[in-house]
């Protein structure tokens, strides 16, 4: 599990961008969606999540705004920018390439066993 979560953590920004493709969202909602998609096997630490948000915002991939909830505290929402969509496409391609390569490397090792 620890290797898997290290791997996943390396792609935090891509995962956030993927979540924002459909609709604007906020920190907890994104984290919850991740938990549900992985059947509670993975969730991000708040600190990791917000570090990724700040980095994405600084690079212009996402924008943030405060929601206008009438009840309770206000939430900070994030929305993906055109630049963010482009970045998402590139990151997805990179991941696919890496996956293919790693698959090949690992499969070759397997045949030796």
């Amino acid at each position: 599990m620890s290797i898997a979560s290290d791997l996943i953590r390396g792609h935090t920004e891509t995962i956030i961008l993927a979540q924002l493709l459909e609709k604007d969202s906020y920190g907890y909602e994104i984290n919850k969606a991740m938990q549900q998609k992985t059947a509670h096997r993975f969730e991000l630490k708040e600190a990791t999540l917000y570090t990724a948000f700040r980095r994405l915002e600084e690079s212009g991939c996402i924008r943030s705004y405060w929601g206008d909830e009438t009840t309770g505290a206000r939430r900070r929402y994030y929305s993906i920018t055109p630049l963010g969509r482009e970045s998402y496409r590139l990151r997805k391609k990179e991941w696919k390439d890496a996956k293919t390569l790693i698959d090949k490397l690992i499969m070759e090792e397997d045949t030796l066993l």
Partner: protein, 211 residues
């Protein structure tokens, strides 16, 4: 229990500078923690269990706060630059004062040359100091920070012009002394001062026009 969450978050942010961005970050984390807490309660967890899970899920915010502050390292660097700047100015002022001594002691053309050289070095130091002074880096996007940056820039321009005027007048005095010692025409060499004054005004007029 939510109050306990708030208090726990306060302890994490106790060393953080109180900027708008930092408060927003804290508010955002608190809001998401409360959401999580509410969800856990709805799932049937006890208040204590929900609090524990929420607290553990925060993780290490140290790096996040540091990145958000950005200013912590910034202020240290500025302090260093300020000390260096003070050293340069002290040396320059010292040179200006000492530059008179050769003239007083020897009272010949060579001593004027030494004075000119010392003054040139001092002026060079001042100009270098003015040119390499670090710009004020905004630590966040509030109006206060913008005002500070603007003020810094304005005083930077002023000190640049001050150094130039100082250099000009030193040159004028040096030329006056050199000419006078060499030609011994003391009765007329003073004319360089009104001329110098006019030149200085013309140059600062050009400065203003350019801006």
């Amino acid at each position: 229990m939510k109050e306990a969450l708030r208090q726990y978050l306060d302890t994490l942010f106790v060393d953080a500078p109180e900027t708008v961005r930092m408060l927003e970050l804290k508010e955002e984390i608190f809001q998401n923690l409360t959401d999580k807490y509410d969800d856990l309660i709805a799932e049937g967890k006890s208040e204590q269990a929900a609090y524990d899970i929420a607290v553990v899920s925060i993780g290490d915010v140290r790096a996040l706060i540091d990145a958000q502050a950005g200013g912590a390292a910034n202020t240290k660097e500025r302090e260093k630059a300020r000390q260096r700047s003070a050293l340069f100015v002290s040396i320059a002022v010292g040179l200006y004062i000492l530059s008179i001594i050769p003239v007083v002691l020897m009272a010949n053309p060579a001593s004027v040359g030494i004075m000119f050289a010392m003054a040139a070095v001092a002026t060079g130091l001042l100009i270098y100091n003015g040119a390499t002074r670090p710009r004020y880096v905004k630590s966040d996007d509030t109006v206060v920070e913008e005002f500070k940056a603007w003020k810094e820039e304005k005083s930077g321009k002023k000190s640049g012009r001050g150094a130039f005027t100082g250099a000009l007048w030193l040159a004028i005095v040096s030329i006056y002394l050199l000419l006078s010692f060499f030609t011994n025409a003391w009765y007329i060499t003073w004319i360089i001062f009104p001329i110098g004054g006019a030149v200085s005004l013309v140059i600062s007029g050009i400065f203003d026009l350019k801006q």
